[in-house]
Amino acid sequence: MEALLAVLILLMIAGSIYTLHARDLLSAVIAYGITGFGLVICFLLLKAPDLAIAQIVVEIITLIIMIAVIRISTREDLTEGATIKVEGVRYVNLRSAVYFVTGLLFVLGFMYYFMKSTLNLDPFGEHSARMGQVYIEQGAELTGSANLVAGVLFDFRAYDTLGEATILITAVVGILTVLRLKGRK
């Protein structure tokens, strides 16, 4: 189980790296599907069917939107290499070097704090549901829902769901506002 999940997450990492390095934006968007559908399989293995359904729908909608954006714009990528050729001599690209060093410092700092924080977590699979215990024991009687995730979403935490719907409506209004304007040339 743990080994299978590790292999899946490694596949997702490989797909993400290819996504960021692809020469063509269309192949980048399609390779991004590796990450999304790998996440769907991870959710199924982790016994979260509701999440898998929501994730697969969101993944396909995101793919459609991104391909529509690329269709009406351009497909070329703008990545520059690590070296520049000037008159036959190879020089190190200074901007790439700065990016690399900055990224390395970020990674080291994040790594340190992540290691410090995971020491306080329970090991994988030995989670003790402090708050979820109440939902598991009394959720069926209190909400009348056989699916505990739906019970938590629409009864115990209904205000969160209301806020989520508000955010969705705000995003739709924002997109319509942004795309309807006639830009000043």
Partner: protein, 112 residues
Amino acid sequence: MILYFLCFVLFLVGLYGVITRRNVIKIVLGICIMEYSINLLFVLIGYVHDGVAPIIVKGSTETNFVDPLPQAMVLTVIVIGLATTAMLLAIAIRVYRKHETFDIREIKNLKG
């Protein structure tokens, strides 16, 4: 613990994309990858060995459910992530129509 670490590596891949790419679409993809890794970490924390999905079946006495609370949270986060991604892409397409490029170094100012 190795799974948490791999999840964190996925987050770092997304961060690397946001820092180093020049294309607006690839920056959006990096942000989406970071979202995915955080969702996966939440569900990983809530897993219990040999657990079953938190759906009550009539007649079964199974009580070893995985934690339903992180799953409900992540379900909210997935939908909000779709909304923010669509908003980012709408702004990207407006910027392309004004500047005729996706290069963030060519886009000097975002006025009007």
